[in-house]
Symmetry: C2
Subunit: 551 residues, 2 copies
């Protein structure tokens, strides 16, 4: 029996960029053919990008997606690639709502060979939790699709199908499948690589088949698809692992379900969590910038750790020459704020300027009398005016540098430091901000370079510097306590009672829960940013603004 050379194509589609996405697929099939592969499998919805959200209801969108699929089939054949079996993901029309005229679509896997479709698989389990709205946007299928290729039997399923019990996946073993092809749009979360791999191994053993798990890569709004496509044999042994956070083509030779081999030697070791989290943030930012037609970003540099980390992420993502940092000291800014900001800019080599806000604030205050809170907020808002003026004048995307802890408790000025189109560390809690800053410096230092983030920005007590001598800890619990409490209340949805049992102080609990709930209106108006945890603010956590419940 001949060996089947399988390729997993890890592409980075842009939602709605049908031409571009198809070009990526074609290039990957061509590269696979040059490497003597005969079967290529791609990620979920690689034709349209993912998730398409309510575009699934637009008949014109589904029709265009199906046309692009048809073009791909023609182009594969025209490029003398018709002999390869190619498996792609695409939404397809299931029906039409007769009253509204809106489309009703399947989330499909399509198997292509010799210029025709061999068949289609329709996703069965439609995730409708966390960030997913697939029950809203698709209708389910219920049949496994199986095909023969060079003497082996392959079955196709899609992403959530292997995370839930029952459905077509349960029929794989009874179907004598040699290799299950799983098309995925599985966004990154810290620790998710381990859960995914365990799941894939479990599937292989339970259904007695090898499994090829092909994931997308790339940032799409608040999601980062990390790739990390894997292949395991029917005993559950990991055979090969694609690169994380970049386009890749993973090649595997398959003799049978228990005999699989890497074609080019790769390490199957996973990277540590800090590396993964940091690279997710870099890719999320890079893709948001480029996929939305920006070339550069502007952000305020305060000398603090949050803006420093954002600037370094941005420099790693799009090049320091495309990063514009502005120091905007006020009358309350310490000398170290200005020097630390400048030091950072020099270390990373980004563009840097200073715009003091003292005169602007004074001009405003001479006209309008302000309460203490209003006066504090005014400073943050005057800085926002400067950032947005630079953005409007020079075309930069504005980054907002708030972290997850601030966002949780509303420790920011709306229309002030919260302004911007993208929030690079929105899902990074304060203690993780420090950890990633230190990690990033250590990576530089390990290869003999200077760490990009000034030690002083890491070590000094955080302060908004909106009044004399202010530090965050005047009005918030210590960040290690606060982050642990927020993990319980926000991430794990624990109650006051559960938090008390964990030893948190009652007054602190009540104060923090009130802050979190009352900040919901601000979070609703916040910029999107990359999700890297199991519970990000945004569509992952949907709560009313008007809500009197505190527990």
């Amino acid at each position: 029996m001949p060996i089947v050379r399988l390729a997993l194509g890890q592409t980075n589609p842009v939602v709605g960029d049908l031409e571009g996405n198809r070009a990526q697929i074609l290039a990957a099939v061509r590269a696979a053919a040059e490497q003597q592969a005969s079967l290529v499998v791609f990620g979920e919805m690689c034709i349209t990008g993912y998730p398409i959200e309510d575009l699934a209801c637009r008949e014109s969108f589904i029709t265009a997606a199906e046309s692009s699929l048809a073009s791909l089939i023609v182009e594969l054949k025209a490029a003398n690639l018709g002999h390869l079996t190619v498996v792609v993901g695409c939404p397809v029309l299931a029906a039409k709502n007769m009253r509204s005229g809106w489309a009703i679509a399947h989330n499909a896997a399509i198997v292509i060979r010799d210029g025709i479709e061999l068949g289609r698989y329709f996703k069965h389990h439609l995730p409708n939790y966390s960030v997913f709205d697939e029950y809203r946007n698709f209708v389910a299928g219920n049949e496994l699709f199986t095909f023969e290729h060079h003497g082996l039997r392959f079955s196709t399923v899609i992403c959530e199908d292997i995370w839930q019990a029952g459905g077509p996946v349960a029929k794989i073993a009874g179907n004598n499948t040699d290799v299950t092809l799983v098309l995925n749009g599985s966004p990154f979360e810290i620790d998710k690589d381990d859960r995914r791999l365990a799941l894939v191994k479990g599937l292989a053993v339970q259904q007695n088949c090898a499994v090829a798990y092909a994931n997308l890569v790339g940032g799409q709004d608040d999601l980062v698809f990390d790739g990390d496509s894997v292949v395991v044999d029917a005993s559950g042994k990991l055979i090969a692992r694609a690169n994380q956070f970049e386009n890749d083509l993973l090649l595997i030779d398959i003799e049978n379900k228990t005999q699989l081999h890497q074609v080019t030697s790769r390490s199957n070791a996973k990277q540590d969590d800090d590396w993964q989290a940091y690279n997710a943030l870099v890719l999320g930012l890079r893709d948001y910038v480029h996929k939305n037609g920006f070339k550069s970003v502007v952000l305020g540099l305060s000398g603090g750790i949050d803006s420093a980390l954002c600037a370094v992420i941005a420099s790693d993502a799009i090049g320091a020459e495309n990063v514009f940092g502005i120091s905007m000291p006020s009358r309350y800014s310490s000398d170290h704020s200005k020097s630390d900001a400048q030091d950072l800019a020099e270390r990373i080599g980004c563009n840097y300027e200073t715009q003091a806000i003292g005169d602007l604030v004074a001009s405003f205050e001479s006209q309008i009398s302000l309460s203490d809170t209003a006066a504090e907020n005014l400073q943050a808002r005057m800085r926002a005016l400067i950032l947005m003026a630079k953005s409007n004048s020079e075309g930069h995307l504005t980054l907002t540098t708030g972290n997850k802890t601030e966002l949780a408790v509303g420790y920011s000025t709306i229309y002030g430091d919260s302004v911007g189109g993208f929030a690079p560390i929105k899902d990074v809690e304060k203690t993780l901000v420090w950890q990633l800053a230190k990690w990033r410096n250590s990576v530089a230092e390990a290869v003999g370079k200077i760490g990009p983030i000034p030690a002083n920005s890491i070590s000094k007590p955080p302060s908004a510097e909106l009044r004399p001598g202010q530090i965050d800890q005047d009005s918030l619990p210590p960040y290690d306590v606060l982050d642990a409490l927020l993990e319980g209340y926000v991430q794990r949805r624990e109650s006051r009672q559960q938090l008390l049992q964990q030893g948190f102080d009652a007054a602190t609990i009540d104060r923090v829960l009130g802050l979190v709930d009352r900040a919901e209106w601000k979070r609703r108006q916040g910029a999107i940013g990359p999700k890297i945890t199991g519970m990000a603010f945004g569509r992952d956590r949907r709560l009313p603004i008007t809500n009197k419940f505190r527990n």
Copy 2:
């Protein structure tokens, strides 16, 4: 056989205000008892408020809701109201997710009598379209609940159950039900009253029973529940209709399924669409303000129609003495802008002051050089600084006065005129803004009062006045064309091709579609506001920001 006097309790719950909601229910039952009613039915989730969104996953929330239900049962009995049969809506625990520890809840109707629960009905059809995420937040039931009361048979179902085919509703006729009690959380949309009534009539005829349809009333974030509870007999004849947009107790005497009578004479006539739309906006604003603990609002008064309508809505909602209007003229503001704003304030009697932005803008421009766009936006943002300073100093909720048409095409300055916690006319397209302004004036004039909105604000060409002589129509198609086009593209999700077939100009279509799609990031950061159409911006329409599809 005795006549059953049925009461429909139209209460206005606040999400999470378990004490307050229960007090409303108790008061309504007491009032019903005083009117000799023996059966009282309330709206969906009247115990907790609705929708509770992801609070449904918090075990502490569901437990608290069930405790409140238990308290209600005790309190009814203690108040010598135990002999009444009372039907309320409440989420109840169905199971617990063993991995996450999160609650899995039913959306339930609970029938109470003599200090015990007679039984529970679990909602079967869980709406997961439009603004609803119930498949995300609940698990479905599948059994009809039927009980006897004074010789008649009653069955309970919940809201969406009567909008979809199949499920427990289909079993009503076979069950010899005399009266179906439908508990609803049905938000207002223009024209929905007609659709609802037709549906209720259809249900009565198909299932051969009278129907008592009890709806909630009140604003909850972006939704306005309009009440409008109705009772029809088994022939589909409308017997009685509760008031729209206010708390009410509707009393009906039931002999049998075809013999029902109003207790106190009421008109069953519906109000016209302008009245309904306007009152929905008033109630939506009033409840957002009060339920979130505000007493007053601040808004910019430009002399234009949008801010004028918002100020009048606010005055009608919370009293003109609680409305603070600020005129913020720039060097480009026309004389009529200032005089029309002042005229409006005098007509409605709200607080009014002027803060010219010329010096503030000049101070900024002397420090930072600006492109034309940046200079235009700066003016809007300087005004935002003033509004937010007033809000922070004096505790007012800031209103943003943008209309739906502006929001659609991104014709606003983010962090400028878009700032605010609530957007009263967010779902009102520009042509409807004019229509409602004229309607509101005509209502005043019909009773011999002066119309609150200056005629000049209605008749003059709209302008942002951000540069000399600018009018909206310089950069946008005429509003009647634009609104018609947006109805097709946004509301009806039509394609470029469909719009061409309707006679729209190709260049206009392409321009507007591009504007709409590119403004998605701004809309994501916008304030919430009351939904009054079938397709509002916000959770009703979920589209990616990163999206290259234009059709």
